[in-house]
Subunit: 733 residues, 2 copies
């Protein structure tokens, strides 16, 4: 027995040693290095192309400058201590960037100083990593070791493993062994098994995690790590890269958290995707699910105005197409598809990644192959099956300073989602006209909660009243309950941008506020008699019981005039909860029945909102930033249309950019002329006196023709809408 037992132990030990040896052995034998993004051939191409393509030269010079600067600096691998924005946080970020840069430069130049820099730094990490506790500033349920949250550890690894890959064959077996045993294996273990929640999560954190672990698996030649990364810890397809591709994107490539996180999430998807394509081409990740990754990159680009992402959900404003993530995404997808309109984006970015794809982009650009990217009107579906509402984008033209309305009827979008069903945004002449506040967060400002989200992100930014949509009875949609909100997205009724002169998008929800059917019809109208495109906004509410309906519009700029008296108010917050406590009431008015007009100035440009007021309508003028002891909110204006008590009510308004520098509105009035079971007629009177009618189907359009009685006649139309002179209504259809 004893002998057999010993033998068994012996065999088990052998097996373990063999497995470990195999892991290391196989990486030596099977895998070429580098081969995650940059390959030996890619490095050769870069070397041979330098001096030929300006964008490549520039990008390489920048990277080399970074690497050279790092080589001269004193190495600093501090014991992790600070939260986001603090010294150790920034230093570890800097380290992975400089290691990655040095890796590329080493591959291009074969100058060993760069390799030694990486080796020495990695060995310094290997020295501390095994003894690292969880980060002292960890406050989330996904703590990191190098950083306060494991997400940042993953980002560190995604970059660092590329550097390791670049010097892998150069390293001595001893150093490789030390690094594998003391750094990369412990780290992948920590990020996979020991962080199972993150690893298996269908969420951008999950994507970063599987990308980090999977890419490391490829470099270490550890197929087990790769398999888990592709299919989840249980290798059962419930988590991992493919499950994430299946569930996080809609068939149109919309990422459920919205554009800001879509930008961020694209990075691990395209990086890991590229690594998979190189190592296991059979998976063909860029073709997977009807090329959803390619669509996702295209959609990310579409979800912008003048290069800036629509700031939906928890978004930091000002992030744009030139961020690192999009440089990777655009170059790698160009490498796969050769789509020439991506080149014009690369041209905006003014840099390329240092891989064969980057060379191809720079080469194509220098040969003048770029064609303009076509930002266009489109409806983007949300939800894995495409059934969870979406985003309607209406653009006047494809040029940079165009007018653009964004209609959000998407799903909640996970933890970073807002209670903003049927909200709209408006842009014009390069600036925000009706804004989405975005997130309450000062990224990298240590003093502001370590750069993390602030309390007002939930109490203000998430709330319905922080958006350009209707709040019923002063309460946020779904009562501000994410579990309820996650269960129901609005239903897209129709989207029609066939005729650029009149484009419409409509959606509805009966769940956001139980007992109240909310439907919104957004039209972008380019009337030959108007100098500028206008937004016609119809918000229809129907309930069997009485409610207070509030419709805020967060215009940016300074109020100049109203065509009605305002009463100034000092020192009242608009309410006590659901975000109303953050609104300071500055003035109120009862314009009375008729067209109420409010004009404001934003930089050199004037805008007017014309709304059909009734006897009941109140207009409240507000400022964001009350109940804000730490002054975390931006003090920006808003106006709020209020109907205190109504069952059925339809807000009808026009938001109109003025002609350049003009202070005169071209719209005199707007009103709901009539509403039937199937349609609505909205009247628009121009300052010139001419009268227009927009007939809107209540939708969905498949329901057949719509009909209203107007001017004593039966008016009937097919499809989504009809627009024209009041004297030429389609009465004889």
């Amino acid at each position: 027995m004893k002998a057999r037992y010993s033998l068994k132990v012996f065999w088990i030990c052998c097996l373990l040693l063999w497995q470990q040896g195999l892991a290391q052995q196989s990486s030596k034998v099977k895998t070429a290095h580098p081969s995650l993004l940059l390959t030996e051939q890619g490095a050769r191409q870069i070397k041979e192309s330098l001096g030929s393509y300006p964008l490549l030269d520039q990008s390489y010079a920048q990277l080399k400058k970074e690497a050279d600067k790092a080589l001269k600096a004193k190495m600093d691998v501090p014991f992790p201590r600070d939260p986001a924005g603090g010294h150790t946080h920034k230093q570890h970020q800097k380290n992975y960037k400089t290691m990655q840069a040095a890796g590329v430069v080493y591959q291009v130049t074969k100058d060993e100083r760069y390799a030694r820099f990486i080796r020495d730094m990695l060995l310094a990490y290997a020295k501390i990593y095994p003894i690292l506790p969880l980060h002292p500033e960890a406050t989330s349920k996904t703590p990191g070791k190098l950083f306060w949250q494991s997400l940042n550890d993953c980002v560190w690894l995604v970059h660092t493993i590329q550097a390791y890959d670049c010097i892998y064959t150069w390293l001595s077996p001893e150093d490789r062994n030390t690094l594998n045993k003391q750094l990369f294996y412990p780290m992948t273990k920590f990020l996979s098994e020991e962080s199972a929640y993150s690893f298996n999560r269908i969420h951008n954190h999950g994507t970063w995690t599987v990308a980090a672990v999977g890419m490391t698996g490829y470099v270490l030649g550890d197929q087990e790590l790769v398999e888990k990364s592709l299919y989840g810890l249980g290798k059962d397809g419930k988590g991992g890269f493919f499950a994430q591709l299946d569930q996080l994107f809609s068939p149109d490539g919309y990422y459920t958290e919205g554009p800001y996180y879509q930008r961020y999430a694209m990075m691990p998807f395209v990086l890991f995707g590229k690594a998979i394509a190189q190592h296991q081409p059979k998976y063909n990740p860029f073709a997977y699910r009807d090329s959803v990754l390619v669509k996702a990159v295209q959609t990310t680009l579409q979800l912008t105005y003048n290069g800036d992402f629509f700031p939906l959900n928890d978004a930091i404003k000002g992030e744009n197409l030139t961020t690192d993530e999009l440089v990777y995404a655009v170059d790698l997808v160009y490498g796969y598809t050769g789509q020439r309109e991506l080149l014009s984006i690369a041209n905006m970015q003014q840099r390329v990644i240092l891989t064969a794809e980057g060379v191809a982009v720079a080469a194509a650009l220098s040969k003048g192959e770029a064609v303009p990217f076509n930002w266009r009107s489109m409806a983007v579906r949300d939800g894995a099956q495409g059934n969870d509402g979406g985003i309607g984008i209406l653009r006047s033209v494809a040029e940079p300073d165009h007018t653009c309305a964004v209609f959000k009827y998407s799903a909640h979008g996970l933890s970073h989602g807002h209670y903003d069903k049927l909200s709209i945004l408006l842009y014009d002449k390069g600036q925000e006209v009706l804004q989405d506040y975005g997130a309450v967060r000062f990224v990298n400002v240590l003093e502001k909660n370590g750069g993390r989200y602030l309390a007002e992100n939930k109490t203000w930014a998430h709330q319905t009243v922080a958006h350009n949509t209707v709040v019923v009875d002063g309460q946020s949609h779904f009562g501000g309950d994410i579990r309820r909100s996650e269960t129901s997205a609005p239903q897209g009724l129709y989207f029609n941008s066939e005729n650029p002169a009149v484009q419409v998008s409509a959606a509805t929800t009966t769940d956001a506020v139980p007992g109240v059917k909310m439907s919104r019809y957004v039209a972008l109208i380019q009337d030959a008699q108007l100098q500028e495109p206008v937004l016609l906004d119809v918000f229809d509410l129907a309930s069997d019981t009485e409610h207070q309906y509030d419709l805020p519009y967060y215009y940016l700029g300074a109020l100049t005039t109203t065509n009605f008296e305002r009463k100034e108010i000092v020192g009242t917050t608009l309410g006590k909860d659901h975000g109303y406590e953050h609104l300071l009431l500055q003035a109120e008015a009862k314009p009375g029945k008729g067209a109420a007009q409010i004009t404001w100035q934003n930089k050199e440009q004037f805008y007017t909102l014309t709304t059909a007021a009734t006897d009941k309508t109140q207009v409240l003028f507000t400022q964001i930033g009350a109940t804000d002891p730490d002054q975390n909110l931006r003090h920006e204006p808003g106006l709020l249309l209020r109907v205190p008590q109504a069952k059925h009510y339809t807000f009808v308004s026009v938001v109109e950019p003025h002609a350049k520098r003009s202070t005169a509105s071209q719209v005199a009035a707007v009103e709901l002329l009539v509403k039937s079971a199937t349609g609505m007629a909205v009247g628009l009177r121009l300052a010139s006196g001419e009268e227009r009618v927009l007939l809107l189907s209540k939708g969905p359009v498949s329901a057949g023709p719509s009909e209203v009685i107007l001017d004593g006649k039966k008016v009937r139309w097919q499809g989504t809408h009809w627009y024209g002179l009041r004297g030429e209504l389609p009465v004889n259809l």
Copy 2:
């Protein structure tokens, strides 16, 4: 008797006719045309130089484009009706611009279409002018006819007379006769005799008036009009161009109304000056009074930060060195002085005027003769004799993004002056850090009181509390009485920028608040241990009776942190009058004894104010824009240091830009260590722990050495100040 009487009448009539004939005759005989700014030779130079100097080509092309566009448009000389910003206002402005442009193009090309355009338009004006009443929108005591105020009529004439000058010889004698009789003579009569108040006024309106009339006098060859313009209606030197040059500028070329109006006023001065120089070179206007016109242009350029004028007094923000006025001023003064640093300003302006001087500038620039303009630290004296205080400008370096403190201890500055004795402004990295609000006015926004100054300009912008200076007992300086304020300017104590590492400016007043001596010492310190220059601000108050002392700082950006607790306040205005009614109180704090620190973020940049708080010190956090029914005010933040009851008190603070993107302050504390009859010692503790002392003479410096007892030792220094380590105080001087 009857015969003799008739004879007398006859002779008088003859004399009158002869005079009138002479006027017309002499203009034909004596004067070359054109000769105001552009001359025949200048036009020839332009023609010959086109194609050689890019800036000339560009400027001429722009002018020609304007003229060509006007030639194609339908002529519109409307009957005056609208206030500033309205159609007829804008059209008459457009007309004088296009006529002037067409005049230049005619002289260069001799293409008669341009001459005909001017003739036809002038004849259209001649048709309506004789029957024009005062403008229907006239509200000032200086009504115009074409415009709501006569000032604009003058501006119209200054431009139009140049166009007339350009086609004078081309015109038929009949047309000339018509235009002289029906347009130019009636207009000069209206603007001189019938507007005697404006004409004789020592004020920028006066300068525009005499320039318009005087330039017209030269073109009509009417020396009487010229003499009146040079010496006032009474030709006694009490008014007119020279009296204005004597009284409106200080010996340093500072214009008493401040930079914004200085920019505006420069235009008629240099235009009329040039016309005088061409017609009556004996007057040598650019050499007059020790070249005060040249100095004035130089000083105008110095009164800027990154090209923008310091917004002192009633200033519209954003006006900069590239305005038309400065293009004229720079080119004409270059023509006189040949100062090569003016060329770099012309390069910023990217255009030149179309005269011989413009050709010279464009030629010199294309030959690379420009040298950088030297924005430097300097004290600029105010007052005709240079005795009425001034402006201290402290700059860290001459580069665009430098740190710059502006200390205003000038005279009131006529009707556009503010009650802001001893106020400061701070700039850094291209942006305003501590702002002056400027004026409450929306230029050209018809809906905002026709684009004129708004009520809040007086109730807010003029008031002391709207500025970064001390308000005593909640009342503006001089009780907000301009008559009192005009009688007393602060006294400059000293200015010392010899050593760029520590520059100081000090001034005092005992008149702004009777019974309270107010003295301010402003130092810009560039300490080798600090990454950025800091502003050290000492405001010393002395009274025999108790007062409330308020010192506001109008920082721009968003508060990020304070090192003390703040209590949020909702809905209180800070007071009822003197501008306090326009401040909304948002939070208050009693930081307690020690260094109170307030940090804010402006775009990417952080700033900290560190102040020595006592047990009494209150810090109020405010927002501009309460009691503002028409929303005329910008909602911008401020903080206010308050000492509720004190006789003697010294506010000591440091305002510190952080290193780029850093959120960490490098200053730990500041305090007043000791004060004596002759000097003060201010202690500065850096975050590194090192201690510095700034010894400041109380001034004036001529008073001899200063002395304090510090750390038990007698510390003595000569001159304005001493700065160094606390351990190395000058005890053995």
